[in-house]
């Protein structure tokens, strides 16, 4: 630490103190600081204060992880939506653990179905997708209503024992367990019937959630389709969002999941598409696709000021805690990232169910 005078027995300056506590000093420097702090009341107090600042900083910064994505209001005039909305707001925090357990069941089942070859051939992958796509799964059923087809599927009643949750996911469950304990049976019924498994965090942008939920109940928001209702405000907000000269096929689908929102735009030399899927278990996963634009396409895009039809945006998991991602490169060279509050193996299983 050239900046910091350590050769004299003077007090330890604050920068050196932090470097010491961060383990960034050389062995010799650390020894010097250590012996000084041990014998100097003033520096000993300063060290204690620095420790406190380090811990407090970490705590404050971790609060920043509690951020939901896609929190753009659908429409400010939510009076109608409010009238339609259930009186008790659905709370993702309370519903979370149920969702998590259900998902582990999904994950376990899917995983087991694929066990003979952990890396499925494209033919197998195709088969999985086709099998599950065919009938739209009833809302009350778990996504894997097809489970009985699998001879090795774990019994539904004890899914957790077979699926080892990741430490992070387990932590997330733990964190929410207390909240669940307070949920009454009637609440659970209300939640189930009103939310039908959509993965909102209703606790944050309440208006957007209620508005969107009401629209959903209304049938205004169909799966892949675009609704013009409330479109003005969205368009106004997202002046930079547009579809343009890029030939991209319609939004991808995922067997057993619904497309809640899809959103396309150009960024630099890339065309991005973000699709949010709601699993029946209540969680949402996000697929981010990136295609490199040709120079011509990029230029066209800049000139094409057409506004994109933007489907109202869904609300996602309330925290980064437990969110994992998988990334892969498609045959056309586009890069895809699938993220959600699931384990990596569960995301891999979902990935196989995506039909581009």
């Amino acid at each position: 630490m050239a900046d910091n005078e350590l050769t004299t027995p003077s007090h330890v300056d604050e920068g050196t103190m932090h470097a010491w506590l961060d383990g960034a000093l050389s062995l010799d420097e650390a020894r010097t600081v250590e012996s000084h702090v041990a014998n100097c009341a003033q520096c000993s107090a300063a060290a204690a204060e620095a420790r406190g600042l380090i811990a407090a900083s970490t705590r404050i910064l971790s609060a920043l992880d509690d951020v939901s994505a896609n929190i753009i209001p659908v429409a400010k005039d939510s009076s109608r939506a409010a009238a339609l909305a259930p009186r008790r707001r659905w709370n993702a925090r309370m519903y979370g653990p149920i969702a998590a357990v259900a998902l582990f069941a999904v994950g376990a089942t899917l995983f087991l179905r694929r066990t003979p070859t952990l890396v499925p051939t494209s033919a197998q992958r195709q088969k999985v997708a086709t099998v599950s796509v065919a009938p739209p799964v009833a809302k009350e059923n778990l996504p894997v209503a097809t489970a009985p087809q699998s001879p090795v599927a774990a019994p539904r009643s004890e899914p957790v024992a077979h699926a080892a949750p990741t430490p992070l996911a387990a932590a997330a469950i733990e964190e929410r367990r207390a909240a669940v304990a307070t949920t009454t049976a009637s609440d659970a019924v209300t939640q189930k019937s009103s939310a039908s498994g959509l993965g909102f965090d209703a606790t944050k942008p309440a208006a957007a959630a209620t508005a969107f939920r009401a629209r959903l109940a209304d049938g205004a928001v169909a799966t892949n389709s675009v609704s013009s209702q409330g479109g003005d405000s969205v368009t106004r907000l997202l002046g930079d969002v547009r579809t343009d000269g890029v030939q991209v096929k319609g939004p991808p689908t995922m067997a057993g999941a619904r497309v809640v929102s899809t959103n396309e735009y150009n960024s630099g030399d890339a065309h991005l598409r973000r699709t949010v899927f709601a699993l029946d278990s209540g969680a949402t996963v996000t697929l981010l696709e990136r295609r490199t634009l040709t120079a011509v396409q990029a230029r066209t895009a800049v000139n094409a000021e057409t506004t994109a039809p933007v489907v109202p945006l869904a609300l996602r998991a309330p925290s980064l805690l437990g969110v994992q991602s998988v990334m892969w490169i498609a045959s056309d060279g586009s890069m895809l990232t699938l993220s959600g509050p699931l384990s990596v193996s569960e995301l891999e299983a979902l990935k196989a169910r995506i039909v581009p």
Binding site: D3, N4, A50, L61, A63, R93, T203, P205, S325, M327
Partner: protein, 177 residues
């Protein structure tokens, strides 16, 4: 070619967290993270890969910020409105909602305190939180290694004092009104 799969597994979570904390916008954070790995894909060799990834992400944010600052600003304002709305909603609701309102409130205070830091202090602190050592922080921010301790100590003190100051002001307001 660089082993991007491995890079992704090792660094994606930490990169997204860093960017989310820095930008307060998870969608944006995920986009920048993805673009960072696209850039990594184009590299033959990566020396000091962690510092490289965070440096590239920082550059992408800087370029992005110039282009879309206005739109993002607009969204940030709306987000604050939403938070305030959620809070006031919860204030007259039940216990569960109160606790989530408190969390939302803490997030908002933290956001303000972090945004009040100088850019370099903020970045140094967030990089450190992701486990980068002093050498990597120096490389990513173009600082001398010797000044990282000073930068971090200043950042931490200002963050904590700013946060506590806002808490005090709030308590006073509540007591007065």
């Amino acid at each position: 070619m660089t082993d991007v799969d491995r890079l992704f597994r090792e660094y994606h979570v930490t990169l997204v967290r860093y960017l989310t904390r820095r930008l307060g916008d998870r969608d944006w954070a995920e986009e920048v993270a993805q673009e960072t790995f696209v850039r990594a894909l184009r590299q033959d060799v990566l020396k000091n890969e962690r510092a490289w990834l965070f440096t590239v992400a920082n550059n992408l944010v800087r370029d992005d910020a110039r282009r879309i600052a206005r739109q993002r600003q607009h969204l940030v304002l709306l987000r604050d409105e939403q938070m305030a709305e959620a809070e006031s909603d919860a204030a007259r609701a039940d216990v569960d909602d109160v606790s989530s309102a408190r969390r939302a409130h803490e997030t908002m205070l933290a956001r303000k305190a972090v945004d009040a830091l100088a850019e370099r202090d903020r970045m140094a602190l967030l990089l450190r939180e992701e486990g980068l050592d002093y050498g990597e922080i120096a490389a990513a921010l173009d600082l001398s290694v010797a000044s990282v301790g000073t930068t971090l100590s200043r950042a931490r003190r200002r963050l904590v004092e700013g946060y506590e100051q806002m808490q005090r002001e709030e308590t006073e307001r509540q007591n007065n009104g």
